[in-house]
């Protein structure tokens, strides 16, 4: 029967299973973020720029007039480089934590996306990549303000978006991971006060860590944000290749660990 042969000709042998990680689904996730961003860029940009600038002006000018200099730098120069890191932390950890939770639990967005040809690891990568891109761009705002206040610009500062991207990627993944750990939106307060606050204070952002007790210095060195701060300061005040490659490597390890944790925990929550 001709029909039979037709069916057989039309049915190809089963293709190879899909690759474990594909970039097309990541691009799909990014397309969605871009559509959302086109609607929300004004408030997002305002928050991401205004907050570090206000902090910089208040502490830099106010406190700076009392402190004068730290480690040979004007306080506003010391602070301007440090606030790049806190800005990166806030613009990546909060969306990673809160937006991801809301989308997963209240909006069921991820259920819809995982019914399309997207797997959890691609979904997590896409969400974190988007947040990291924003951190990479917005993280430069306080640096530009500090330059306006007299911080000498240097060509090495062109590396700041990259440093901010990698750090932001890691903290976005941290947020995604923790959003899938917390049982409810209320318990996020533990993370905001218990994790984020010490992270941004004990990192050499507002004061150098060598003024801290020895145990706190150890804690600071484990803090990925400290390595981000050191790298940003290096672009402004002088790069030492070996030391700074070490800081960068620490950030990459941080990213790798958080990626694994985020993917495993999100899969636990999204796939029954």
């Amino acid at each position: 029967m001709t029909l039979d042969t037709d069916t057989r000709a039309a049915a190809p042998s089963p293709p190879a299973p899909p690759r474990r990680f594909e970039f097309a689904p990541v691009a799909g996730v990014l397309a969605r973020e871009w559509a959302l961003y086109r609607r929300s860029w004004r408030p997002t940009t305002f928050a991401a720029v205004a907050e570090p600038v206000i902090m910089l002006l208040a502490f830099g000018v106010g406190l700076g007039s009392l402190i004068g200099a730290i480690g040979g730098y004007d306080y506003i120069e010391f602070l301007g480089t440090g606030i790049v890191a806190t800005s990166v932390l806030f613009t990546s950890m909060f969306p990673g934590l809160i937006d991801t939770f809301v989308r997963r639990v209240f909006q069921h967005t991820y259920d819809g996306m995982l019914a399309a040809p997207v797997d959890v690891r691609e979904l997590v990568t896409g969400e974190a990549t988007w947040i990291a891109c924003k951190a990479g761009v917005y993280g430069c705002a306080p640096l530009l303000v500090a330059i306006g206040f007299g911080l000498p610009a240097s060509p090495a500062m062109l590396l700041v978006p990259l440093i901010a991207f990698v750090t932001g990627f890691g903290f976005a993944l941290t947020g995604v991971w923790l959003s899938a750990v917390v049982p409810s939106i209320k318990t996020m307060d533990y993370i905001i006060s218990g994790v984020i606050t010490p992270l941004y204070l004990i990192a050499g952002t507002f004061f150098p860590i060598d003024s801290l007790p020895a145990w706190a210095q150890v804690v600071a060195r484990i803090n990925p944000l400290y390595h981000c701060v050191e790298l940003v300061r290096a672009t402004a005040f002088g790069i030492e290749p070996l030391r700074d490659l070490g800081h960068f490597a620490a950030l990459l390890v941080f990213v790798a660990v958080m990626w694994l944790l985020a993917v495993v925990q999100m899969r636990r929550r999204l796939i029954d």
């Binding site: 594909e22 799909g28 399309a116 796939i271």
Partner: protein, 328 residues
């Protein structure tokens, strides 16, 4: 088992919506489940499910809440992993090659998950990306989906401005932007008013006319009877009966059913008990007692029942007869 449906697996024109000849049994099924079990801790949601959905049919999964319909749907997209058993969708083993299967199927979830901050058109555009529609074809795919959802004139409205019926139409159109060969509809009309429900029935019929395979879960009897070429009745995580609705009704309920008003507070020697004792298939709905196959009623009991109202048998009769449970 007879499998109504199309003659071949692909794009031949569909027969009218009567339940016609069996398809070519050698055609690969769109969906196949073998011995699928899904446990959540000590609770067994799906308990040894065997299901074969031929290509090109509208297949209804009918059963009450908790029968395992939604779990089954989620297993087909690998959003729920079977404890044991084998699943294949469009020839791809699931979950191993699930992404390939998902690329060729559309899913309409039971719970609305549209992006409320985005417009109608943007919601569709996002899914052309997620479903990997080639760049050059995306505008046309969005236009087609807008027409399908009758939302072309609302394209620039945010989805939180749409009515419930419009949202559901958009949700369905979103699952169709990439022209899937298989569509999963999980309780597509639950909570919708009758007018909107009939709109959606028209849409499902149109899909069938294009040769798309549709797997639809529902707990509405009428929906299953009207739309489905094949129905699988599910209860407690298993399929208790499967076939064309008319065949199932003829086999398990009979073509006509007679309804009698019998007070529900039936003492042990009441007419209901004696009917059951006489082996007559009956089922109760509030004050009404339905007698299946009334031709087999013994005369004395018929006299006692008085005059009844004859109606056509339906899938609810079949379901109650087979499981003792009601569907809706």
């Amino acid at each position: 088992m007879s499998q109504p449906g199309q003659h071949s697996s692909t794009s031949t024109a569909r027969r009218p919506a009567t339940h016609g000849p069996a398809p070519d049994p050698s055609a690969p099924p769109a969906i196949e489940l073998r011995g699928v079990v899904k446990r959540f801790g000590s609770f067994t949601a799906v308990n040894g499910l065997d299901l074969r959905v031929p290509s090109g049919v509208v297949f209804g999964l009918l059963g009450p809440n908790g029968a395992g319909k939604s779990t089954t749907m989620r297993m087909l997209t690998a959003q729920c992993l079977a404890t044991s058993g084998e699943i294949s969708v469009l020839g791809h083993p699931v979950p191993r090659a699930s992404k390939r299967a998902r690329a060729a199927m559309g899913v309409v979830p039971q719970h609305d998950n549209l992006d409320e901050e985005l417009t109608v058109q943007e919601n569709l555009e996002v899914f052309t990306h997620l479903y990997r529609v080639p760049r050059a074809q995306r505008p046309e795919a969005v236009e087609r989906a807008l027409r399908l959802a009758h939302l072309a004139d609302r394209r620039h409205d945010r989805t939180d401005k749409l009515s419930g019926g419009m949202r559901r139409r958009l949700l369905i159109a979103r699952g169709l932007v990439h022209r899937p060969r298989l569509v999963l509809l999980d309780e597509p009309t639950v909570g919708l008013d009758p007018q909107v429900r009939q709109d959606l029935w028209g849409l499902i019929t149109a899909l069938r006319a294009e040769g798309v395979t549709v797997l639809m879960s529902t707990h509405y009897i009428e929906e299953a009877e009207r739309l489905a070429d094949v129905v699988a009745l599910m209860a407690k995580g298993r399929v208790v009966a499967q076939g064309a609705p008319a065949d199932l009704i003829a086999r398990h309920a009979g073509d006509t059913v007679e309804e009698y008003l019998v007070p529900p507070a039936d003492p042990g020697d009441g007419v209901e008990s004696r009917l059951r004792a006489a082996g007559v298939a009956v089922r109760r709905t509030g004050p009404t007692l339905s007698v299946l196959r009334p031709g087999e009623l013994p005369d004395p009991l018929r006299a006692e029942l008085g005059t009844g109202l004859a109606r056509a048998g339906n899938l609810e009769d079949v379901f109650v007869t087979l499981t003792g449970e009601r569907v809706e």
